[in-house]
Symmetry: D2
Subunit: 154 residues, 4 copies
């Protein structure tokens, strides 16, 4: 990358920024990201529990970051499955690892934790996700890169 690290790059993705996802780390097929749970993320009109879409968006983002950190190219998600293990009522933290790094697609495992300090303190596993991302054949112009100077990103 030219003068910008990968974690910083993700701050420029509108939805990642809008949701409040912070990609903390992304290197060598491993990535971590945090999200402070806010009232707007809730699935409950009268309380605070993360909507499934919030947890998923975090998982998809950190999974993509893991892939991009290994392949240094735009990596659209082909499919992802998420399993919710317990309600997420606190801040979220997610860790992702590339488990199969093929030429054209990569498989990624994600675990999402919640808790008062879900990065390394008291934390509960609230969801696991597994997905496949495209790692080649995106060509020079894609809907994900139009208007972006990709050459200088990686």
């Amino acid at each position: 990358m030219a003068g910008m690290d990968l974690a910083e790059l993700f701050e420029h993705v509108p939805f990642v920024d809008d949701l409040g996802i912070d990609v903390v780390e992304a290197a060598d097929g491993h990535a971590e990201a945090a999200l402070e749970l806010e009232a707007t993320h809730s699935s409950n009109p009268g309380g605070l529990v993360a909507h499934g879409g919030v947890t998923y968006a975090l998982a998809d983002t950190v999974g993509g970051a893991a892939v991009v950190s290994e392949y240094e190219t735009v990596a659209p998600t082909i499919d992802m499955r998420i399993d919710y293990l317990s309600p997420a009522t606190d801040d979220l933290y997610a860790e992702a690892d590339v488990t199969r790094g093929g030429e054209s697609v990569a498989t990624v495992d994600v675990t999402v934790y919640s808790g008062p300090d879900p990065a390394d303190g008291e934390r509960e596993r609230v969801a696991t996700a597994r997905g496949v991302y495209k790692t080649s054949g995106q060509g020079e112009r894609t809907p994900w890169t139009d208007g972006v100077d990709v050459e200088n990103l990686f």
Copy 2:
């Protein structure tokens, strides 16, 4: 339901409202929902293509609406898989149907369309999703219902 229809109920879910999801219809195990694509939904810093988390959040929401319309109870998602078929660069519209309505869980199929008028005009299938929702055993109090007068909702 007591004086509020189900589609209206979803407007009160903070993340559904925040993201701009409009549940248009929800009855008898079938639901439809729309989302106008906005700049904040984008996955591309220099253009407009829906982040995977946006498409997923729409799918999860409309899937849940289909289940709730049949079971008239809170229905947390247990798992969901989404497959992205083409980039979503326009407004989104999703349709969901319960395909297996068991006593304790329901299976739902969702199709997400995009286009200038994705509800009934020119539209392209951009994603399919399939998930399983819990339909019983939520008990009287859950993170999804704390503070909500569930008795009077259904």
Copy 3:
């Protein structure tokens, strides 16, 4: 293909043959396959209901046949999800369609039916499956083609 049609080709796959899967049709991204339910397929020591692995093997096989019919190359499964909708207590029939045919991977939808004449008569949907198959980059030699004269197959 040189002198052998695709459906016939699958009869030579040991596990497909051993399980009794009959690929009936495979062309232009669509495939159909049948399986007569036998006592050895059962999941119940005292009765006859297809083990989940039998239904899955049929789904995976017919999905692969749909992909191969479009791409004319070996197409290993990358991932597949199956949802069981009702117990399969009679003969099975499966239909598969490629829903996204990318350069490096294809997404496939499969529906599995059961009934006394599940091909076109009285039938019930017992499972749906969705998977992603690799369509390029297999190279000249793979574990799936060692010992096979691929050049002359397609």
Copy 4:
């Protein structure tokens, strides 16, 4: 269980026996199972690589065994996703753990290994699977228990 341990019970499941799956261990939500790869399991007419359905059948079986070991009831699979990480050209060994044990459904993680001694020696991870099983509401008679003396099994 009355006089028969759980691992032994699975030997009586026709398809498990027919395929050669050996449930080695099943207790407290954890299970392990082995499968010696044979020519009939192959996906390649000219060589030996496990058909995706073989690996899946092992994963589904060991996942079910993990659930049954915790719930002591028949546990039909609701859905399962499998991701293939590398070709399985040797004997298989699978380990499963219940990751979410709810009242009505349980979520299970499975890892499938291959190698000359995949149980504890030289082994490679060839697939991961994740599924949801039904753990209640099966009633007294089901297609999975007709003809079986369930009362005396557990």
